[in-house]
Symmetry: C2
Subunit: 243 residues, 2 copies
DNA sequence: GTCTATATCCTGATAGAC
DNA sequence: GTCTATCAGGATATAGAC
């Protein structure tokens, strides 16, 4: 049969409200208008159909060009993907290094600003972030490793924020690794379902998730059902139980 | 240049500790041993390289067969994917419909069991779940719609658990939709990073996330920094602010 | 820089022997 | 049911005119 996989064409994607995001604002200023248009088209295609299901024709025609034109601006399809993934991770990292976080007064305010901003960033750029998070297998090993380093630096910022609060007594002695993973999951997983025309603006969702993050590092009083299991699972009992 | 995309071959994937999971236990009993072996091979390939980057040769040779043998057991590559995605969603749904949840005494215990089980299921089957969550764009429109219905039923179970607790006063009047999305994000996003040979067993992680879920529906007392912003963002102020 | 045309390789699926 | 061999189409990337 070999019938063509049902996909969304660049025309389908044009103007789809689910794909509205702020990715055009991400691209490097040193790139020309045409190159940035190609990246924006590629983000839509990759996010909707996946990197491998997207052809270089899809990307080019989505930007109003013929298929060969792409290679004037990028040396390969993989480097189009890498540019999107790299810039997304760099921008997200830069956003949580912003001054409003470093100058926050206490550990709680600092963590609140961090989670709020990281969440809002992913909401605002949810389409590009979908590519940056879910299409990593399309990268070469070398490019994947560069991205891994950027991710690590972001994670370290969250770790420092939680560990710092534990150290100065603002938070109880939580399991930092587990709590940080949970916070990152909240901020990142929203890219699976978020829409800019939904009921929450990026900032509203950021505030909401920042509140949930602070609950993760609160003392375990007054929680329904808490009396049943004793104190919260703060420190991981990493003694190998039967698996 | 047209150089071949660097991918993991079925031989690379064989025995990779990151890909250890319990997916072989998912497949339909009515399928033969060979068909189930093909599904297990396909899960590894799809999870590592993505659906479109995986060739039917990869799947077959990963199961110790030649490329044409696949078509004796499945009519197309897309139906291999659909079988994996469908079964995964059905099993996850069945698991949270288990009796230990329905017979739980109060809303808090019920929610705890629900989140704990849903989390543990995704940890135990994290490789198959990765395919079920991240490779949906490979499905035909019809098959995608079937999956969407299964997801909806699962979401309704979570909604009922939270809304029920709010109704009988066990939980404060939280924003059910936002809280449920956050809980699902915790349980699902772990498939991006979870490993069975990591420090947490599926059950340990389930207990931890169940505790975090209960904190999401607790009264907003004794949280660090809570005094700054007044009461928690319980009910969404969905009045359209400037976007 | 953009186009049309095309080279080269690879993929999903099938044919037919055993 | 599994194999080898192969078809038909589609992919990335390039060549060369304008």
């Amino acid at each position: 049969m070999a019938k063509r996989q049902a996909r969304f064409t660049p025309q389908d994607l044009e103007g789809d409200p689910r794909l509205r995001d702020e990715s055009p604002s991400l691209w490097d200023d040193r790139l020309g208008d045409v190159a940035r248009g190609l990246l924006t088209s590629a983000v839509r295609c990759f996010a909707s159909n996946g990197y491998h299901a997207t052809t270089t024709r899809d990307i080019s025609t989505g930007a109003g060009l013929s298929s060969a034109a792409l290679y004037v601006h990028f040396p390969s399809k993989e480097l189009v993907l890498f540019e999107i993934v790299r810039v997304s991770h760099e921008r997200a990292l830069g956003y949580v290094q912003g001054s409003s976080i470093d100058t926050a007064r206490g550990a709680a305010e600092r963590l609140r600003a961090l989670v709020s901003r990281y969440t809002a960033w992913h909401a605002l750029h949810h389409v590009a972030a979908r590519v940056a998070q879910y299409e990593l297998s399309g990268l070469t090993a070398e490019h994947y490793d560069e991205v891994r380093q950027l991710r690590h630096r972001t994670n370290q910022i969250f770790r420092a924020a939680v560990a710092g609060g534990v150290k100065d007594g603002a938070f109880p002695p939580v399991d930092v690794d587990r709590v940080v993973r949970a916070m990152l999951s909240l901020s990142i997983d929203l890219i699976r379902w978020y829409r800019l025309d939904g009921s929450d603006s990026p900032e509203q969702l950021g505030d909401f998730y920042a509140d949930l993050a602070l609950r993760m590092v609160s003392s375990p009083e007054s929680r329904p059902g808490a009396e049943r299991r004793g104190t919260a699972p703060q420190l991981s009992s990493a003694i190998a139980t039967t698996r």
